[in-house]
């Protein structure tokens, strides 16, 4: 342990060692070293210069393995993420796969003009935002409520069992859950409509009815994820200061009042943070889910940007228009994500990296 401590001391010294025993340590000079870095010193003093070169060589050598470790990840990112970003030029071309990115004809903003004139563009945008916003709101209220309820339970085995069960649907794919939901929600044989019939209602075609479809998407998405989403709120709940509860109960606060005046303010920062970060999802209505559950009969209320891009691009082979629509979404998303991260950093002191 002593070794480790002295070493850490050494390392700190070696990192900032441009400063020691120099007679030039006036405040002005310090400013210079700060702005111009190591080079400024080396022009002044030969000894310092050789030292700083040696130091930088050592530093480079010490950091070399770190650079090497990043190579595989960087290579993969460049090939599969940055190269496709350059492929976005096809949004401004009349792209033909045989001619490639460079050979296709440049058409400027034509694809975007065409996109804006598409008759269903308006409803697609509306559906996307409508479903996404409802999902964001419900996707926060339900988990917070369940987390509060779970937090009141003292019986550990019961709590764990509930947690284990409600987290589970999150880990199933939308293909599997799509199959489950199609069976369960079927108007003729599904168990949900059996229940509705049992209580004297008329069977509802949840997945085939234009009016019901968006709400079915919101409810089933919340059903899949609410358990898993409680994790973050449960973590926040355990961080609320115990002393505050004691103080409140001494002051005669009931449990309800404690929840209202201690618990909720205690988790408010996390709730705000999650809300702000969800701004970035305002155009993500859930491709995986909707693509697996929609059908032509609900396109008018269920078609979202991502499914539209897919059909346009890969089914109708309108590569350029599809890319233009995708780019439109990406640009709005990046603005929203940036705003969200800025706000999160500003008000919740949160940073992703």
């Amino acid at each position: 342990m002593v070794c480790a401590l002295t070493f850490s001391f050494h390392r700190q010294q070696s990192i900032h060692y441009i400063t020691p025993n120099s007679s030039l340590l006036t405040p002005n000079f310090l400013l210079l070293t700060l702005t111009k870095g190591v080079q400024a010193v080396s022009t002044v003093n030969a000894r310092t210069r050789s030292l700083s070169r040696e130091y930088r060589r050592q530093r480079r050598l010490r950091e070399l393995p770190l650079h090497l470790m990043l190579i595989p990840g960087l290579a993969l990112l460049i090939i599969f993420h940055y190269v496709p970003m350059f492929g976005i030029v096809m949004a401004f071309e009349n792209f033909k796969p045989a001619k490639g990115f460079f050979g296709s004809k440049w058409v400027g903003w034509d694809n975007f003009v065409y996109m804006a004139k598409l008759p269903n563009m308006g409803s697609v945008l509306y559906n996307t935002v409508f479903i996404a916003v409802l999902k964001i709101i419900m996707g926060m209220i339900v988990p917070i409520f369940v987390a509060l309820m779970l937090n009141e339970i003292g019986n550990k085995p019961f709590k764990r069992t509930v947690q284990t069960i409600v987290y589970f649907p999150h880990f199933l794919s939308w293909v599997i859950l799509g199959g489950v939901l199609m069976d369960v929600l079927s108007p003729s044989t599904g168990i949900v409509n059996d229940l509705i019939r049992f209580f004297g209602g008329k069977p509802i075609y949840f997945l085939g009815d234009k009016g019901w479809f968006p709400y079915t998407m919101v409810i089933t998405a919340v059903w899949k994820n609410f358990g898993y989403d409680t994790i973050v709120y449960l973590a926040a709940l355990t961080n609320v200061d115990r002393n505050l509860y004691e103080a409140a109960s001494i002051d005669g606060a009931t449990r309800m009042q404690q929840t209202w005046h201690v618990t909720l303010p205690g988790i408010l920062p996390i709730v705000t943070l999650m809300g702000v970060l969800n701004l970035g999802n305002i155009l993500n209505a859930g491709f995986d889910q909707i693509f697996n559950l929609y059908s032509p009969s609900v396109y008018s209320t269920g078609d979202i940007i991502d499914t539209f891009v897919y059909r346009l691009g890969l089914e109708q082979a309108q590569f350029s228009v599809s890319t233009a629509v995708g780019l439109f979404k990406s640009v709005i998303s990046i603005i929203m994500v940036s705003v969200a991260n800025y706000l999160a950093g500003r008000f919740a002191n949160y940073r992703v990296f």
Partner: protein
Amino acid sequence: MKQKEEMTGTHIKLSVSRKVFLAADYLFLTCSALLCLLPLINVLAVSLSSSNAAAAGYVKLWPVEFTWSSYQYALTKPQFTQAFLISAKRVALGYAVTMLVIILTAYPLSKEKDVFHARGKYAWIFIFTMMFNGGLIPTYMTIRYLGMLDSIWALVLPGAVPIFNVVLMMNFFRTIPHEIEEAAFIDGAGHFTTLLKIYLPLSLPSLATVSLFVIVNHWNSWFDGIIYMNHTYNYPLQSYLRTIIINPDLQSMTSSEQLVMREISERTFKAAQIFLGAIPILCVYPFLQKYFMSGLTMGSVKG
């Protein structure tokens, strides 16, 4: 504390309303858990029932006229086993590559700026891909020009740098005290040795969490299979399941298959395949679940 409550006399009064509340709470949570479980149990029951019972809608939560025939049919279908094997291969290969990349990327990025000067620049290169991407068609075209269509690498490599998991791993590495690492450096260890001998053994909960995400993610991916594989016999299981569960293409079936279909009914057969597709998740989940509560919150919630 407790004494004070009793002294003020509010303790008894509280405990009555508290009891009512707790009963409601237990009821509510039990219902929530059942809500998550019952649809799955219903489908399981359907898959184990006879086709007549299923078609007539008799099956609720328990199999009616119990039979394994739907499972037998699914497992003897060469397309199903083929897709299952491709998925298994994909998970194995994808897990190895992705974990390697995650660990190698998270370690340097977990260093402070005075240890790794270029960290900030690298971090931006990685984080930018989280905010912006080329989109569906340009990515598809890139894979196509790389000649990777119909190759298993198209399923493994494009997703091999999951930024979310890198951040999770990185945040965990940051919680390991610097002194341990510095002691290792004194003993002459380099960064690679430190990572292998110190960081990894200390990060088992976090590795388990990330492993769960990577495995589940690879097993569940279906979209990349559908767009990057031209031939259905190259489909991983989830992509294959999508084609038969979501869009059953009856025309493409042979007449003998249609005959069998009439016997076991589409519904029970679909249900059986849904369950077979979920089995690997069911196997991995309880095993790793105990780790991920701690592993996940450690990475995602900071303060």
